[in-house]
C-alpha cells in the first residue's frame, strides 16, 4: 500500500520505538500492534488517518464505495467500561457466555497526570479490505456488496478458524452451538435489516462513546467526526492494511 504523506513543516513522524516498553507490552497484551499511530494518543502520525485507513489514492475522502457505508466512531475518552454495550450485544445477538462480539479493553498508565486509566471498546472493524474474507476457503464470510458489512453465512462455515487467525482485531470467536465462527455484523441481522437505525451497542451506550452511522452521508455524525480536521482521528492497526471502518478519537 502506497501512502501519500501530508508534509507539515517541522512535524516529523515519530518512531513507534519511543513508546515506553510498559505501554508497548500493555498493547501487545490486548492484541493490538503499535504502529505510527498510538491509540493512547501519545504519538501522533503526520499521515492523514482517513487516507491511510482507506486508500492509496486520495479519492476516498469524497467517495465511499457502499451506500449506506456503515461506520462507527468511538470517542475513546468517554468510555467508562459500564459494559452496557456488551450486555446489549449479548442479548440482541444471542452471544454465548464464552463468546463475544465486542469487548472493552483497559489501559492503565500510572505515569499519566490526573486521569490514569482509559477504556478502549473494540469490535469488528468491518474492513474494506478484510483479511478474514480473503482467508476464508468457503466464502462463509463475505463483504455485503451494498453496505460493506462483513457478514457470516454460518451454514458454509467449516470451522477452520482461518478468519480468526487473519483478523487483526481478534474480533471473531467460534460458536459451539452453531459450529461456526461468529462475529459482529453491526447488528444487521438483528436490527438494521428490521428497520432499526442503530446497533444495539450504540443505542445502549449511556456516554455517547459509540457513534454509529453512514459515512457516505456528509450530514451524518460519523462523517462530521471523521472529517473534522480539528480533531485527531485514528484507526487500530493501520499497518494491517485492512482499511477499517471503525474510527477512534478523543474529545
Amino acid at each position: 500500500m502506497i501512502l501519500n504523506k501530508i508534509k507539515i513543516e517541522g512535524l516529523k513522524k515519530e518512531d513507534p520505538g519511543i513508546i515506553p516498553a510498559m505501554e508497548r507490552r500493555a498493547f501487545l497484551k490486548m492484541g493490538l500492534l503499535i504502529t505510527g499511530v498510538f491509540a493512547g494518543g501519545s504519538v501522533l502520525s503526520a499521515t492523514s488517518i482517513v487516507e491511510k485507513a482507506f486508500a492509496s489514492s486520495g479519492e476516498f475522502a469524497e467517495k465511499y464505495p457502499y451506500k449506506p457505508h456503515y461506520s462507527m466512531v468511538i470517542h475513546q475518552d468517554r468510555c467508562i467500561d459500564c459494559e452496557l454495550c456488551m450486555t446489549a450485544c449479548v442479548k440482541t445477538n444471542n452471544v454465548p457466555t464464552y463468546g463475544y462480539r465486542t469487548r472493552v479493553f483497559e489501559r492503565d498508565d500510572q505515569k499519566a497526570t490526573e486521569r490514569k486509566r482509559e477504556f478502549i471498546p473494540v469490535l469488528c472493524n468491518q474492513c474494506n479490505n478484510p483479511p478474514c474474507v480473503l482467508g476464508c476457503p468457503t466464502k462463509a464470510t463475505y463483504k455485503n456488496p451494498t453496505n460493506g458489512i462483513v457478514m457470516m453465512e454460518s451454514k458454509k462455515c467449516i470451522g477452520c478458524k482461518t478468519c480468526m487467525a487473519a483478523c487483526p482485531y481478534n474480533a471473531r470467536y467460534f460458536n459451539e452451538e452453531t459450529s461456526a465462527v461468529d462475529k459482529c455484523d453491526f447488528c444487521f441481522n438483528s436490527r438494521l435489516s428490521k428497520g432499526e437505525k442503530l446497533t444495539a451497542c450504540a443505542e445502549a451506550c449511556p456516554a455517547k462513546c459509540r457513534v454509529f452511522g453512514d459515512l457516505s452521508d456528509s450530514g451524518s455524525e460519523v462523517y462530521q467526526a471523521v472529517h473534522n480536521l480539528e480533531k485527531t482521528v485514528w484507526v487500530l492497526r493501520p499497518d494491517a492494511g485492512a482499511k477499517p471502518n471503525v474510527f477512534y478519537m478523543k474529545g
Partner: protein
C-alpha cells in the same frame, strides 16, 4: 518419618501464611480513612470514591457529611437524581466537581472516577458493599 517431615512443612507454611495475613490486616487498617474506599454500582458499574485521597487533600468529614452525602455509605445511589445530570446540577459529587468548583469538572476525565466493570471485579472485597 515422611509424615513428620510433611507436618513440619505444613506448620512452617501455616506460620508464614499467618504472618502474611497479619501484616495484611495491619496495612489495611492504616489505609482506611473515614468510610474507606467505596464503590458505587448504581445507576451503572462502577464509580470509586476514595475517602483517603479526599482526606489527603485536607477535606474534613463535615465538608461533605452530611449535607451533601449521608453518613451511611452508598445511600446516595438509591436516589433518582444520583446520575451525571444530577452532578451537572451541582448535586452530590457535582457540589465540588464542577466547572467553577474546587475540583475537576464532572464532565471531564470520565475514567478517573469511573473504574468500570473491570475495576469493580478487581477491587478488594471490603470495597464492594
Amino acid at each position: 518419618m515422611r509424615t513428620k517431615k510433611l507436618s513440619v512443612l505444613i506448620l512452617i507454611l501455616a506460620v508464614m501464611a499467618m504472618i502474611t495475613v497479619y501484616e495484611g490486616l495491619v496495612v489495611a487498617e492504616d489505609d482506611i480513612v473515614g468510610g474507606g474506599e467505596i464503590i458505587y454500582t448504581k445507576p451503572l458499574k462502577s464509580v470509586l470514591f476514595s475517602h483517603k485521597s479526599h482526606a489527603a487533600m485536607g477535606l474534613d468529614c463535615n465538608a461533605c457529611h452530611d449535607k451533601i452525602f449521608q453518613m451511611a455509605a452508598l445511600s446516595a445511589q438509591d436516589k433518582a437524581d444520583f446520575n451525571m445530570k444530577g452532578l451537572y446540577d451541582k448535586k452530590y459529587c457535582g457540589s465540588c466537581h464542577a466547572k467553577d468548583g474546587m475540583a475537576f469538572a464532572s464532565d471531564t476525565q470520565c475514567a478517573r472516577c469511573h473504574i468500570g466493570t473491570k475495576g469493580f471485579n478487581s477491587a478488594p472485597k471490603e470495597a464492594k458493599k
